[in-house]
Amino acid sequence: MSEIDALIPHPGMPAPEPTALVQPPPRDQARQTLLGMVIQRTFANTGAVIGIAWLGVLAVGAVGAPFLASSYPLVVKTTDGQWFFPLFRYLTAVDVMLPILMILAIALVSLRRFSARKRVVTFFLAGIVVATTCLLLIHPQRREVFSEHRELQAAGKVQWSISPPVPYSPRDRQRDLGYPTYLPPALGGPHWMGTESSGSDVFSRMIHACRIALSIGFIATGIAVVIGVIVGGLMGYFSGVIDLLGMRLVEIFSAIPTLFLLLTLVAVMPPEWNPYRLYAIMVLIGLTGWVGYARFVRAEFLKLRKQDFVQAAIACGLPLRSVLFRHMLPNGVAPVLVEASFGVASAIMFESVLSFLGVGLVDEPSWGQMLGEAIGAAGSFKWWMAVFPGLAIFFTVMAYNLIGEALRDAIDPHSQRSTML
């Protein structure tokens, strides 16, 4: 009696002896998934490594911005023996959340004992918990200037204090305190990359702008990819009338000029929505940018739906959701990933262009906005306001393009053959 018969009882004759077991060939190949192979090949590409390294620098800047550049000292000891931690009192929920998530991510990546899926699920669950706790518990008062510390200092009460490496906050409008504006950069001086029109430190603003540069790319592209995959997947799977209607929708959306739509949106947005301007830009880039992904996914799905394993999955009685997203999508997502890395680059460009034109973010530091100041109200060209943010935009866009190209080479079997020979 075989085991399966014992597990599920059914009536019938006794089972004959099971046939001799076929000995499988020895397992000499390492267990390697397609994903693992792609990651390995991507990392073998020098350009991709440079790109990933640069994104790593940006990530550290984005996550550690309040600890790297802030006018609040980390620790203050007053002359009457009291200890203050001003920096930590003014951290926002996001400031706290990001480092925790980054540490979690690094820990999970290095924990190779668990399967990739378990680690991803853990990360998302922990991420949700951390994010909600931070958002619920942390409500700092908003302080524009480092007044408290300054008052202490003015009163001569500070015995000693430790400041972050860049002791200026991005929004310190020191012009109001009679501080020189448009100070050119001075290595070793107080302002390594100079100051801008309001007297804020450029280096500090550069660091804080990493956050926007990274988040706008990921969120805008994320929205576009999700919409594109769903629409494209349905078009490719059902074909026929749905495909016809879907492709017309794609054509309509491809005809929308994203930049002009963004300009219009920013122009008509009431000023009290300014804090949400960044999100509005992200959503709009996402809502207009999905057509490319939809086309890719549709083409892949048209090919995949005729494949035997998809037929087999349907013949197994799996629901549509599982056939589409579990069995077809992972086999057709490769070109989407490549396209997405270019999409991130273009989203960053959009934001920079908007900020450069002066209709982007109002209060937040952003590279494009700084670039705009290079030829701003001062009348003359301030080279440091053009070079540093310009280089940052250039390197970031190039990093994404390098990664995208490396991914494409890693996934495409033809290019693999030519590089292997």
């Binding site: 075989s2 599920i8 046939t19 190949q29 494949q307 087999a312 349907i314 013949a315 086999n331």
Partner: protein, 376 residues
Amino acid sequence: MPDTSQNKPLLQIRDLAVSFPTGGRGARRADQRRRVRAVNGVNLTIYPQQTLAVVGESGCGKSVTALSTLQLIPTPPGRYDGGSIHWYGQQNGDSAGVDLLRLPEKKMRDIRGNQIAMIFQEPMTSLNPVYTIGEQILEAVLLHQKVTRRQAVQIAEAALRDVGIADPGNRLKEYPHQLSGGMRQRVMIAMALACQPVLLLADEPTTALDVTIQAQILELLRELQTRRHMSVLLITHDLGVVAENADVVAVMYAGRVVEYGLVHDVFKNPLHPYTRGLFNSMPALGGAHLRLLAIPGNVPDPSQFPTGCPFHPRCPSMQGDPQCANEDPPLLEITDKHWAACWHVPGYKQGKRTTPDIAYRREAVGAPSPPGRGLG
């Protein structure tokens, strides 16, 4: 021969007709967008624990018939033009049966995999390359059976052991590309059988495998069929496979059944000239032929089936008979339990117009054939 005549049939395919459009996308005028009948008026009946073999050349509609049974023909391009597929294997004891062609997609999903399972021709492409075989079997098991994950793993391991795969616990964690073709086909069978289906549709299960593996897989299928009391619809173009496995044979040509009968009858006394041509084109051991006999000509293009009997341009028995070129012969019962569709079969004029239906099942093979035996 066990008397199984009072048995109820499990599956009845009646006058099935499936068509596909031709002329491509550019064809906008109605006359350019003709539809082609890939399957035209097919009748098949399967009884419990029976093996029905469907034989025929490529493109004769064998696979379309099997795919229709599970509503796997993509519609739109394809369309079910008529007929019915009645299924009496409902586990809730509903003896009236359901028409699988008219079942809504949601109910169909309960039947797919759970009551009727299918294995495909190409083991190399029938498994999803991005998941381990364990994940693929587990998904099907968890979907159809109310078991915990741990029980499902046990069922999957047992299923792999049942199809003769050693070390199933570790095999479950492997990806399809790490297995050989024969192993993959075993995995496919294990996956199809993990949910204890009543009917297995085997669409050329051994075509893509080399000959020694073919024999093993067929052996395995036969043994599992006996043990699980399954019916099998075996689609093949290999007459050796038919001789070894089938109870009843249906020979198909150009989308219709041209001969239907017990495996002994069809092999001993093939009636239709096409069937005879198939037998003649099989190599015989010790035969004196220098060249194999082949049926002259090719399978007709489905978009331009000849008028009359579809086989007449290639038929050796036609001999200029205008009836063959003008009238399509219906499938008639010539002798008891033996149907054929040819004007030139002796006794065709006296043939009875009955629906092909044979409940015969070979003597339950007490001892399975010794392993390693070649094909018939």
